[in-house]
């Protein structure tokens, strides 16, 4: 018995009405806007694209972790502190203790993912909101980071990583660029500008694709595939949608949630490692406020704060919007404080739009 009150839905509408719709519209709007106000400022030259591309990729890396965790029904507010902590761990182990850089990186990953598991374990065992548990870790990790750094070097910045990372078998995976030859060729044929003076004369102004950007794409593709195509992805949705109903049909909700906390910590460590390799140093105040920026990206991308609904592609577009707006206002020569005004505006706009779209899809009232 088909319900005569349900209208037939056209293919176009079906293709349009999806969780990412708000973020897609936002992305188009933001690009159109900056083409108009900053089109001739170099924002869309290869150099400019690299500039906002890298910033967006940074947001995307932590947004993918935050997105999957939020869909599983939890938050992690310790992401920013985790970034600072992971960086300082790598720097202390490699520069101060003289361990090989690859071992330092692996150690940082193990420690941070274990901390992520601890976060998850505490949330599951105590039944407290993850908001509170990870807020505690926001302070604990930041404090530990500063203390460790001052204890070993009497400073909050530890430099010298670049020197010890020379020729390391793992460090190249997080720093540096690939496709150098392609970009050199593009420079030679004149597609990309080349330096006309100095020691790098003849080299293209954009060396290649930074590894950071590659990490962002890899994590986005992995996250999207995991969430939408696999059994585990279905369990992520189920754990966030209604944990009790999911348990009744045999979904291992606790395991799913703890693994997502670990994945978020993994993403934070990727971010931290790339940053340390790029700057050649670690600083105790790195990653400040990143947890909120990640959550903003995810929410712009159409995820529901209470879990059970969202999209990795949406979160990635949220990161792109965030990066383009932040760097674009700089290119446009706008007052930098206006960035926050703009961001707040986009956030409200995106959330209102996403709420409407979600209601259309899920029949919420």
């Amino acid at each position: 018995m088909s319900d005569e009150r349900l209208k037939q839905v056209s293919a176009i509408r079906r293709a349009m009405i999806r969780p990412e719709l708000g973020a897609i519209c936002g992305t188009i709007l933001v690009f159109v806007f900056f083409f108009m106000i900053a089109g001739d400022s170099g924002m869309f030259s290869p150099e400019g694209i690299q500039n906002w591309g890298v910033v967006s990729a940074q947001f995307a890396i932590i947004a993918v972790g935050a997105c999957l965790l939020m869909i599983a029904g939890e938050f992690d507010l310790s992401v920013g502190s985790m970034i600072g902590f992971a960086g300082v761990v790598i720097a202390i182990l490699s520069v101060q203790w003289g361990l090989p850089v690859w071992l330092s990186i692996i150690s940082a990953f193990i420690i941070c993912v274990a901390l992520g598991a601890l976060n998850g374990f505490l949330v599951i065992k105590t039944g407290l909101p993850s908001f509170i548990v990870t807020l505690a870790f926001l302070y604990i990790l930041r404090g530990l980071t500063i203390w460790l750094s001052i204890l070993t070097t009497r400073q909050t910045i530890i430099g010298g990583v670049k020197e010890v990372a020379q020729g390391d078998p793992l460090a190249w995976l997080f720093g540096g660029v690939i496709l150098k030859d392609l970009f050199q060729w593009l420079g030679d044929i004149g597609v990309i500008d080349t330096f006309t003076r100095g020691s790098r004369m003849g080299q293209p102004v954009v060396e290649g694709v930074p590894m950071l950007v590659l990490w962002a794409f890899a994590l986005i593709i992995f996250g999207h595939w995991l969430l939408t195509k696999t059994r585990f992805g279905n369990w992520i949705f189920a754990s966030g949608g209604d944990a009790q109903a999911a348990r009744y049909v045999g979904v291992p909700v606790n395991r799913v949630k703890i693994l997502m906390f670990m994945f978020t910590a993994f993403c934070a460590t990727v971010f931290a490692t790339c940053q340390v390799m790029e700057f050649g140093s670690a600083a105790a105040d790195r990653g400040l406020l990143k947890e909120f920026e990640a959550i903003i990206c995810v929410v712009i991308g159409g995820a529901l704060l209470t879990g059970g609904y969202g999209s990795v592609i949406g979160a990635a577009l949220g990161a792109l919007i965030f990066g383009v707006v932040q760097q674009g206002l700089f290119f446009a020569g706008a007052e930098s404080s206006l960035f926050r005004v703009f961001l707040g505006g986009i956030l409200i706009f995106a959330v209102i739009m996403n709420t409407y779209i979600r209601r259309m899809i899920t029949g919420e009232r």
């Binding site: 018995m1 696999t230 279905n234 949705f237 189920a238 949608g241 609904y309 029949g363």
Partner: protein, 259 residues
């Protein structure tokens, strides 16, 4: 007479000093709909949870097809073919019908180390099972939130049946539904029963029970007041047993027999 699919023999369940169930006996035969009636607080929920493996009985024996069993978890009960459809926890509204239907048992395809859900197969089976229950979905990807309450119960029932339930426990499936949706769910119960599955239908609505029940057991303050076959008992008597007699009879008088 054949052996019951599930038999609960003199089950007691104590929570500290509280005796929630004080010796309840109950059984379901193949292809039978056994209605368990009781007012709020009668011990229905405790009894269902004991059958579905959430609680362990303090005293008494459970038998599945004549064999003594002890369930340590809901998972054990599920594996023994006992599926429970809870009133409000049946479905996750934000997820699609297919995702809900297969939740926890997603069919997979693999290539090397990669495994992914076989959505083509999953969608096809979902559509087929739903239409065999009399619900034509617009598309299997539509969210469960867009379905009516009765349809959600039906999806949950279809899911339990598809995954090989021998005994289906329905926890007040009709209590939150309108008239038409209720009749749909009752029709589904009838269809499931005809397929040879034993249905335990929990309700406090005598009329819904009378519509599909083969046998009726009334639970009151943790005790059973005996089991009656269809045709042996009148709705009014069931109503009286459920409420424990007197007061309701008086109330019924003053309301003109409308309850």
């Amino acid at each position: 007479m054949s052996t019951p699919l599930i038999e609960m023999d003199n089950i007691e369940k104590h929570f500290g000093p509280v005796i929630a169930l004080g010796g309840v006996s109950f059984s379901v035969m193949e292809g039978e709909c056994h209605c368990l009636l009781g007012d709020n607080g009668a011990g229905k929920s405790t009894f269902i949870k004991t059958m579905s493996g959430v609680h362990k009985p303090t005293k008494g024996v459970m038998r599945i097809s004549g064999q003594d069993v002890v369930f340590d978890s809901p998972r054990d009960a599920m594996e023994a073919g006992i599926a429970t459809v809870y009133q409000d926890l049946a479905m996750i509204p934000l997820m699609s019908v297919t995702r809900n239907f297969w939740m926890g048992r997603e069919p997979r395809k693999s290539f090397g180390p990669f495994k992914w859900i076989d959505f083509k197969h999953a969608n096809q089976v979902t559509m087929d099972e739903m239409s065999s229950m009399g619900i034509n979905l617009r598309e299997p990807e539509q969210a469960v939130g867009t379905l009516s309450g009765g349809e959600r119960q039906t999806v949950a029932i279809a899911r339990a049946v598809y995954f090989g339930a021998k005994v289906l426990i329905l926890d007040e499936p009709t209590s939150a539904l309108g008239v038409r949706q209720t009749s749909n769910v009752l029709a589904t119960i009838d269809r499931v029963r005809k397929a040879g599955i034993g249905v335990i239908f929990i309700t406090h609505n005598v009329r819904h029970a009378m519509a599909v029940g083969d046998r009726f057991t009334v639970l009151n303050r943790g005790q059973t007041h005996g089991t009656a076959k269809r045709g042996e008992i009148k709705p009014e008597e069931l109503q009286d047993l459920m409420a424990g007699g007197q007061e309701l009879a008086e109330l019924e008088g003053s309301l003109g027999g409308t309850i």
